[in-house]
Symmetry: D2
Subunit: 274 residues, 4 copies
């Protein structure tokens, strides 16, 4: 039977690189995933591995190149890795390198704190015809306790939700944006886009998650010329007003129960004019 | 700026239905996700919610229809939900309903055990033009301790992996298959496909994960005429041989360390003849 | 300043042993933790490591002894490990070895399925004066949809809960029992105690989680003479009745929402007559 | 059969309180657990619930008191809750209230960022005879890339670990300290103790995890007179040097693989002079 789309690779490659600048150290903490596409019919159908570079080798390559190259902007490291893989492997038609960086804040010249769940992500997707680069934030937990409502929505016979002009809006933001050029420069750009997203989130008069999501995407593209498009995923982590009336108490948007399930899931891409 | 692809919905809708057949109960335990697509530009760009059915209503609809309909084959329940959503919402162009079922084994007439991580999944994707149905298994952990090797692979300067004709092959299988007809019948089919996948995994002379993955897909399509195609995702959960030589001991493929990271990630779709 | 109670050790030692009996294989999958107690003041206060056996050595010892000994009843393997550690380390006053076993069900002579979250646990706690052995089940998810109520409870001004004579009782059972003798035999005993716990859970007319917990503990001690005492931990995973009345529907204990948070947490030890 | 130690309560009570100070909001995000001890034999053995205050009522009490009281220092809120429970429930001999606070950083007057895994913890344990208060940090991920070694340790026939004078020391710190007085004041104290712990970690010349742990505990007690004792739990998250020699490269403590399993587990209490 025909083999359809297929890929293979190595995920969860955990790399920490310490770079010493005199007595001051830099600590980069990456989780790398490598994925190959190509004509691997013989491996699948006949068990012929002659075109299969082991995923263990992909892992070794990541560590070796981490030694040989600077590991600074993860976009550049992903580009270098994907380039190496395509150059060395004529049997491969596409290589994708995805990186998630844990951000360590400095406690001192050689000490660091890294408790945040937020990740800086990057991906280089390279074919024989070219390469595309994306950057992103993942699992950035944000909330606003004012300037957020939800009203005027469509109703049907199963609708019981009350309209509100004052609710907590909380989300675990994941955003991915493309770069119009793979040449960068990438230094400082991620931090700048992240600041734009946060500033817009904080200031927006939100009529819905969709409304704020779009405003954030629009601000990112508007403020940063090198971005091609941006996709935002904003799960709505509902904060429900607790009914305190059985205890003779009022609740003026003060006491909430934070819930995990169910959650709204809002996703959209904002692009430039066609 | 133009809005690109976008969707919204409710995820993590936790539903348990108890159906009483005399003194014997059935327990169905589902996690449902609903997703709408359509022309939601006004909601994003202008904060106009008049076309936005609340995700809270999606949740209510799931519970109401769970009462009104039998909840047996989850494929049928997903179809009924997606049909309801499109019928009631002319502003929506597509509705997707995804269900994961936790499997409870019977301990008695009204008692159950449900510790397994494995899930039975189903999805109905409905547009104005038609509907597609998928079924699947998710997170089915399987291992084989014989008939598995990996040799004859491509080598480069970063390759240190040794060839082996005897290794543990372990994976957390996720598979999704399409149905050529949305009319079913679905009763018993999931169990039958699952048995085929497991039987093939156990019996296969494996030259690689790719090789076994393909054999499992081929057996599923070959043995079940109603399937259109099947996509298998098989992370390779490596079991590394422990070097016992420093202690004067041999290790004849007997003592392994099971690892979580890094892992190989092998994915492919097997289709029918074009 | 004085050092109070202290310990150190290695956790998360992942061990898989394949035992070949002709063409039929046994697969044991353990996660082992080792913990030492003793007079480690010099290590803490002065950085003097001369009494500190590296935790890396603990790990090596687990793998070496897994090769040299049969790995069948995990209680026996924990006993052998703790004995070895105390014998070889005069500077240590106590060694504790804890094991969690993933249970793999057989798919064939050399193939296995292991998706269950449930674990078989065992612990040997050894001092210079003697040894104690415990066994247990962990994360065994069970539910009953009949013979469970909760009424006649204490009320105060914050009590809004309705009485019920028909609710779903669901819990993720963790139970730990002591053995009156470290000599065993252990073969088959864990399975037998587990069966007693499940049978009692399924049959009990439950007035509360506490009531069923106690009945399970009493049955375990009553049915198995070698057990000293048993501690049961039963989080109450609430299943809330969905209010369908806004949609003109009744809900006769049929449609529930399963919740993760908050949860009741019920714990008790049942002992033998003093 | 006799009932041994037992308790019951409610865990996972998710509370968010928004306090408005003009246009500036404070956001407090707590997860509360309540636990009762007492003479609950009748509930266990006879299914008599007359002394059992529902755990649902515990939850309601948390929300009602969060409205009626300021929610600032979580130590004070835990004390107030435990006091209320003992006063209202003569059948209860002890009440324990544990709180974990997610820390939200300010993005603006009414917007916040809360991605960190670190938690501020507090516990009030109250009996009829008195009350004890603890505070702590949980899951604070820290690392140092200099001033850390491990050498001069005990060796046996299973020891293969190499000595090192330069390694990465990384841990997910959990620390719990007692207060000599339940009267506080607590404002600012947690932040001060946390700073002391981090400063000591960053500056210490570490001969082992035990050595640094003890220094941190000693500094906390030495620098903060109101603390009674402190318990530190410091899992050793190993960073292993990658062997780059097969690729003709050296690795001067530069390229590491970060591992999750196995991990060293180091725990100790530091007390004041007896």
């Amino acid at each position: 039977m025909p083999l359809g789309s297929n890929s293979y690779g190595k995920s969860g490659i955990r790399l920490v690189k310490v770079t010493r600048r005199g007595g001051k150290h830099d600590l980069r903490d990456l989780t790398v995933a490598v994925r190959f596409e190509g004509g691997f019919e013989a491996a699948h159908a006949a068990g012929d591995n002659s075109d299969v570079l082991p995923t263990d080798t992909m892992k070794n390559t990541v560590y070796a190149l981490a030694k040989e190259l600077p590991v600074e902007e993860i976009e550049n490291f992903a580009l270098a890795l994907s380039d190496n893989f395509l150059r060395e492997n004529p049997q491969v038609s596409g290589s994708e390198v995805s990186i998630e960086e844990r951000i360590w804040d400095r406690l001192g010249a050689t000490a660091f704190e890294g408790s945040s769940n937020e990740r800086h992500t990057a991906r280089a997707s390279r074919s024989r015809g070219g390469v595309a680069v994306e950057s992103g934030v993942k699992d950035l937990l944000i909330a606003k306790s004012a300037q957020s409502g939800f009203s005027g929505f469509r109703r049907d016979r199963y609708t019981t939700l009350k309209e509100t002009s004052d609710r907590i809006l909380a989300t675990s933001l994941t955003a991915v944006w493309t770069h119009t050029s793979a040449a960068g420069p990438f230094a400082g750009l991620w931090e700048a886009v992240r600041r734009t997203l946060l500033k817009t989130f904080a200031a927006h008069e939100s009529a819905s998650v969709q409304h704020t999501l779009y405003a954030m995407g629009e601000a990112a593209l508007g403020g940063h010329a090198g971005l091609g498009e941006i996709r935002l995923t904003m799960p709505n982590r509902h904060h429900l007003l607790v009914d305190l009336s059985p205890f003779g108490l009022t609740n003026d948007n003060e006491i909430f129960v934070a819930t995990e399930e169910p959650y709204g899931l809002i996703e959209a891409t904002v692009t430039r004019e066609a």
